[in-house]
Symmetry: C2
Subunit: 366 residues, 2 copies
Amino acid sequence: MSRSTATIRDVAALAGVSHQTVSRVINGKERVNPETRQRVELAIHELGYAPNAIARFMAHGRTRTFVCCAPNLTDYTFACIIEAAESEARQAGYFVIAASAPNAETFAELVDQLISSRYAEGLIVINPYADERHRYLPPDIPTVLIGARPRPGQFDFIYLDEEEGGRSATEHLIKLGHTHILHITGPHQEDCTSDRLSGYRSAMHEAGIEVPPEWVIEGDWSATSGYQAVQSWQALGLSYSAIFTQNDRMAVGTIRALRDQGRRVPDDVSVVGFDDMPLASYFDPPLTSMRQDIHFNGRQAARLLIRRLDNPQAPPQHLFHPAELVIRCSTASVRGGEAQKICSDSYSTVDSNLAPSNYIYNQKEK
Amino acid sequence: MSRSTATIRDVAALAGVSHQTVSRVINGKERVNPETRQRVELAIHELGYAPNAIARFMAHGRTRTFVCCAPNLTDYTFACIIEAAESEARQAGYFVIAASAPNAETFAELVDQLISSRYAEGLIVINPYADERHRYLPPDIPTVLIGARPRPGQFDFIYLDEEEGGRSATEHLIKLGHTHILHITGPHQEDCTSDRLSGYRSAMHEAGIEVPPEWVIEGDWSATSGYQAVQSWQALGLSYSAIFTQNDRMAVGTIRALRDQGRRVPDDVSVVGFDDMPLASYFDPPLTSMRQDIHFNGRQAARLLIRRLDNPQAPPQHLFHPAELVIRCSTASVRGGEAQKICSDSYSTVDSNLAPSNYIYNQKEK
DNA sequence: ATGAAAGCGCTAACAT
DNA sequence: ATGTTAGCGCTTTCAT
């Protein structure tokens, strides 16, 4: 039934019309005699006929399919973008081939197999500047880049405002009275890393705080790297009262390390994460973090791409999106006490970054 | 370049051969005169020719594409299966359309658009029995079901041994001397819920412990539902020393609730989760949980499907996979102390369930 | 070893 | 309103 091998011609024969009439019926655009239509529909039903998608692609020269590709598909942020893009795409009649490209070679292969072959009509690339993969970006293919700083050129971009996010996180700590604020970045080659870092630096600069090189350590997004950063600082004998980490996993590693050193969060050290991952509010202590509306941006990516497919000649589109500060319990004023009080209220029973959050400072309202 | 519109005939014309010879060259199967080949290859290069995937699909009647579909793409377990299946598929020359089908209607639509149209050759369905979507499973299409109990019928299954997992988790608590062991399930309609529940019940039964109805509460996988379950038990005035929850998020909610009631984990109450999610070892306390090798099973799903495509007539294949107990710090013997000691060692600095874990009890070795 | 012809299942353009 | 013809770009089959 669902896999009938009947063709448009079989239907035509059974209905006693030409195959073209059948085509007209199934496409419903042109009009056919109601009586004829009835007969055709009956034949379609009897044969369990369903139009062959590939033949349609062939005739139209379009597949209504695009690729969404990320270093992996499990990272929550990536998965979230893919999910949103896919669902938006499907609503618009497109399909999404999801593909993980952990390195530039895989990405190049992917482009070769899917784009050069014209299987897919377009490309959403998550984190295109994480390695050298951007070198393989096909120049004349509808492409949306997400999670990268816009660069001059022909691509459409969605930019999550990393720099502003880094600044907000740092400013939050500064407002709480902290001055010795250390920082753990992601891998250097990623755009968001350097942008968040700039945000941190500029906030510190504006506050008149100098940042010695050893205050900034490069992590790899893993909790372990957060843990190790704290160990390094201890080895150096640095004294500090706050840490800003570029993602929540490193924040969690950081907190674990601090605790292993007998220090309490936020009483002794405040910690701010980034991403506001699900369960951020369930860590101990509930994590203060920067939230980006990833789902929204995934949808936007799909929309941008679809618009681009409709109008290949349009100038490059750049979408900007801010991050919000979500204050929970891992940050407190430098003398302790006050923020801690806030905490007991927001000791939340909600799961994720999708749930309403007590303390959100939106960049927009600043 | 990558989007050249050159066809096989353009290449043929330029090389001064028939388009068929070009086909032979690009497919490399039959042999052609080395000199001719050279000329053709030159022409291909000059025109930036790349074979058109759709035309190939059309001629072959195959798309080398299948669908991988789950209620959502962000849940770590689902994403992990998809990632693994996709990467396995791509190695075998297949592409994967990822699709979220939050409900049965969406699933039905999906099947209609992708399967009835013969766009996709096969289907991997994650959690097919979470709602009524299985009613829309096309009967004669290569399909692999994962995350469901095998049922008589024509489908290939990958079954994560949920019942045994439920039993192991419960037995662990029983061995630690607990008798009042409460249980939080997932939604009733899901296979894994009832299977894990059976495991719990049978372990309790074997230990001669009776389970009053109020010991088992239905959650919805969210941390919040774990939190609420503990509140309900408090309202009932139940006394207990251990909780087994059917996933880690509910375990985390549970722990939060217990702490809000002034009880300590594991000193006062032991908690076992399920899934061994990333960062399970970073929760406070690090979570004892059941681990399934999801990545492995995702790969297997793709393999099964590919095998099925090669041999549609083969009898249904059922793959079984056990869960392992990962002991961390959220469980202790009923008098406290001992397990807590273990904990200080395994107060792990590793991130995820992929990292080596100190205490794994494999079902196989039992 | 190479070429010619037919066809995959559909749509589009033109005819009636 | 309906039928006819011609592709879409490739592979397969059959000649040469």
